[in-house]
Amino acid sequence: MQRGKGMKFVEDSRIPAERKPNIPKDYSEYPGKTEAFWPNFLLREWMIGAVFLVGYLCLTVAHPSPLERVADPTDSGYIPLPDWYFLFLYQLLKYEFAAGPYTVIGAVVMPGIAFGALLLAPWLDRGVERRPFKRPIASGLMMLGVISVIFLTWESVDEHDWEAAAQQGEIVDDIEVDEESEAFEIYLNQQSCIGCHGGDMLGGAAGPSVFASEYTAEEVKDIIENGLGDMPPGQFDGTDEELETLAEFIANDGQDPNGDGGDDE
């Protein structure tokens, strides 16, 4: 680079007026065999990126991201679970030596030592040897760390009741039963129905809410007449028109299908 007197600049700027030729740098003497980043290496790298992206998109399409019901801070019975990459820490805090009065050990001391050592690895392992088998202490400690994280995550996943977890977070539809309707009156006259499904149609001691599953009016009629599972057949005591009205009312999530309060979904 030219220095001192005689330098010329574009107008009053600090940009040198003399154009440098756009020729590649000379890296022929760099240690080891090399190739150009642009375009040779970048094109191949993009191909790997493209394959990765396809897998990523398949995952996204096959498994839509989960969403539970809206947060309810008063629901103290909810069993919490952090995202999977924090499970190892969460699990660690369940062991006797790292919980209760020793929480500090599980929450600060152990992760602090592990992550502190990770951060300071270049100063803890100062030798010039790079091959993992030639520095057994560093490699061994790293393997120990990786295995414990995998083990703790595994234990946490194993101990967690996934079915209960899925159920406790489920989005529940708000069903509003139109109690003024003709169909609800028909239902109230059916002692047998009320006995299991409750006086409000939303379930009782022996049966679920009548709106719990999605059925068409035809299917509802069929279930009332012929029963389903534990539900006995032929309990309905009324005319065919009444049965029809009730079935449509149930299939329409507790709203009169001919009225304007129906739920489109």
């Binding site: 790298e45 991201s65 539970e68 993992p132």
Partner: protein, 223 residues
């Protein structure tokens, strides 16, 4: 024509050195899976960056619909998930990307560790990398609360309880993150700000340092 545009800009900004720095550098042959298949382990860092870029882009699109307050947060995510065209894809990419970035970063860390690449003269780059690992975990933790559903809320409650158990600074850290005694409206807006402004800002700075150092020092040689 292109050459003329290039010359015009170059005369005003002297971009030739920059172009040479960005595009014209060599890559050692031993990191190329086309030469030795086992070199695929050298792809993890690049893939981590790739997922990070996707996270930034998908996150930008998510904020077009997301409303960071406790009344609307859940509704806006529900709407995005169920009503918005391709909303489920954009949210899905952000959701799965958060996991993938952790996995890729973990693998990249292991590669760098077991090839001893953090040794002299690359110590500082290792430190910057580990700091990025912490930033990523912070992004995962704060992002988890934003949908404001049951698992988001209670995971945050537990996380902040753990933070509170730290001696001396615990109470302060919890108050700083939660914005008060209870985990509620203030917590959500704080987590949103941290997730969208503070941590990405820190991450971009660290990424720049990471890449500049790689360019300066080159990729470590074969074992």
């Amino acid at each position: 024509m292109l050459q003329k545009i290039y010359d015009w800009v170059d005369e005003r900004l002297d971009i030739t050195p920059m172009w040479r720095d960005v595009a014209d550098h060599e890559v050692p042959e031993h990191v190329n899976p086309a030469h030795h298949f086992s070199a695929f382990v050298y792809c993890f860092g690049g893939l981590t960056f790739f997922v990070t870029v996707i996270q930034i882009l998908s996150g930008m699109f998510l904020t077009m619909y997301y409303v960071p307050d406790i009344i609307h947060a859940y509704e806006s995510v529900y709407f995005l998930q169920n009503e918005v065209t391709h909303g489920v894809i954009v949210r899905g990419m952000h959701h799965w990307g958060a996991s993938l970035v952790i996995v890729m970063m973990f693998l990249h860390t292991l590669r760098v560790f077991f090839t001893g690449s953090y040794k002299k003269p690359r110590e500082l780059n290792w430190v910057v990398g580990v700091l990025m690992f912490f930033v990523m975990l912070g992004l995962g933790f704060t992002g988890y609360l934003l949908p404001w559903d049951m698992k988001a809320y209670f995971a945050t409650v537990v996380g902040l309880e753990i933070a509170e158990s730290v001696p001396v600074v615990g109470g302060f850290a919890k108050a700083l993150l939660a914005g008060g005694e209870i985990i509620g409206a203030q917590t959500l807006t704080r987590f949103f700000a941290i997730h969208v402004f503070f941590l990405p800002g820190a991450l971009l700075g660290l990424l720049a340092a990471h890449f500049i150092m790689i360019r300066k020092q080159g990729i470590s040689g074969p074992l």
